[in-house]
Symmetry: C2
Subunit: 285 residues, 2 copies
Amino acid sequence: MTIFDEATAVTLASPGRYQVRPDERFALVAPGGATPPAVNGGVMVATLLRAVLDTSPHPYPVATSAHFLRVPLLEPGEVEVTWLKQGRTAATARAALVQDSQIVLDVTVTTGSLPEDPLANGELTWTGEPPQLPPIEECVNLGPWRGTVGADGTAGYAAHVDLRMDPATTGWRRGEPSGVPEMRGYFGLREQRDPDAYLLAVAVDALPPVVFGLGAAGWAPTVELTWHMRAVPAPGPLRVAARCRHVSGGWFDEEAEVWDGAGRLVAQGRQLARVGRSARRPGPA
Amino acid sequence: MTIFDEATAVTLASPGRYQVRPDERFALVAPGGATPPAVNGGVMVATLLRAVLDTSPHPYPVATSAHFLRVPLLEPGEVEVTWLKQGRTAATARAALVQDSQIVLDVTVTTGSLPEDPLANGELTWTGEPPQLPPIEECVNLGPWRGTVGADGTAGYAAHVDLRMDPATTGWRRGEPSGVPEMRGYFGLREQRDPDAYLLAVAVDALPPVVFGLGAAGWAPTVELTWHMRAVPAPGPLRVAARCRHVSGGWFDEEAEVWDGAGRLVAQGRQLARVGRSARRPGPA
């Protein structure tokens, strides 16, 4: 079993109720340690998706919307799953992570089928232009970046994901933000594990916050994130391109597209997040 | 009281429970009348938002995610609101429209504040390029378009909204789809009513389905729609630009941006929908 599968595991406690434990191996620790460690939002969503898919009549989470209410504690919690509809084409469930009798993360998931080969059945098929990334060997191995290292400097999120960033989007690391709120890079785990729906849930929230490109710094907590799974990913690193359309009043949006090794658009996400309050510039940890 | 405010009204029945009635004046009727009329999804979301905002500690629905489970019936229903968190910066509620003991529409809403003038307080502010539309007088008054007229040919959704489309995106009306899944137009009501959060909920789902640009036809039911309110809209018609990134397996996404008369990005939406099954080409009703 991989570290990622361990970290997102759920254990059936009773019908519709699952025991989980947010895992410090995917935690983010704010510089200075002023706030408690927070597990990466995508990893938490992946955990709840496991609970939902355990009893889903359809195999894939085609639409997942998540509202992040509180910072998950690094201690046991319970996921409660309630099916709202189970239909022929789609089924919809609510799932909530509860810790200390409070909802930490609330998701609504619509599951459905995705075609193995949409071209084979003559259905309408169309895809926009893919993002342009340099070859992976020309990209920047992000290593531990500020806000992603564990308490001991290595054990958190950054130690378990492999991010290779388009150098055009990494000027913030040396105090020279590009002035454009975009991030692009290759994403995978450091351990050997092929992408699936659970890893796509992480990929849509895997890159540094797009506002780092505007000189913002600090932890940028996600308030709401919705992602759509569009195809079953092929093995290999995922290409992720994220952009922003608007920043104001402390809110910013981040739209991420995820393309697989076979050149297919496999996931789309959009989140609304808060601009980090830290006055420090982002940079290497 | 305007027709739109009447159609989206809620009446408090008991704490957290509101009586509503999906309104035929914003209904869509599929050509041939084979399926029952469905009220426009945005109008239904606006109705649920009224129930949520009735007891919200914050004034604006900054993030609303909606999963559409069943076709609303044109008869009374009940909206149940449950607050999951009420915090200083944001509050989150679930709301569900229930008819005949079944959930028809399930939304999760995070409310918050939006700045009157983000430039005034020195916060980080940035906006991408606005969509390019021709002047409104050069746009196509869509009038009643297939799928949007009421049972008597005039009384439904199309009779109550004022859509002026960029002619570059209306070739489908004469059987000549552009080949690009994009729609752009000016949106308002036919009656005099300034935009607000409720009307933005409609604007993000107001245009003809983007897949009409690829030659698809028929009703394209929304499965999931999430939208973010980014600013309080100024009076006047809204500019709406929608695009699609991927169509396959009967699923397509539609991303809409809404800009106000003062040139500000006021709302962003993305939905996952089903490609219509009708074999008929779209066109004038």
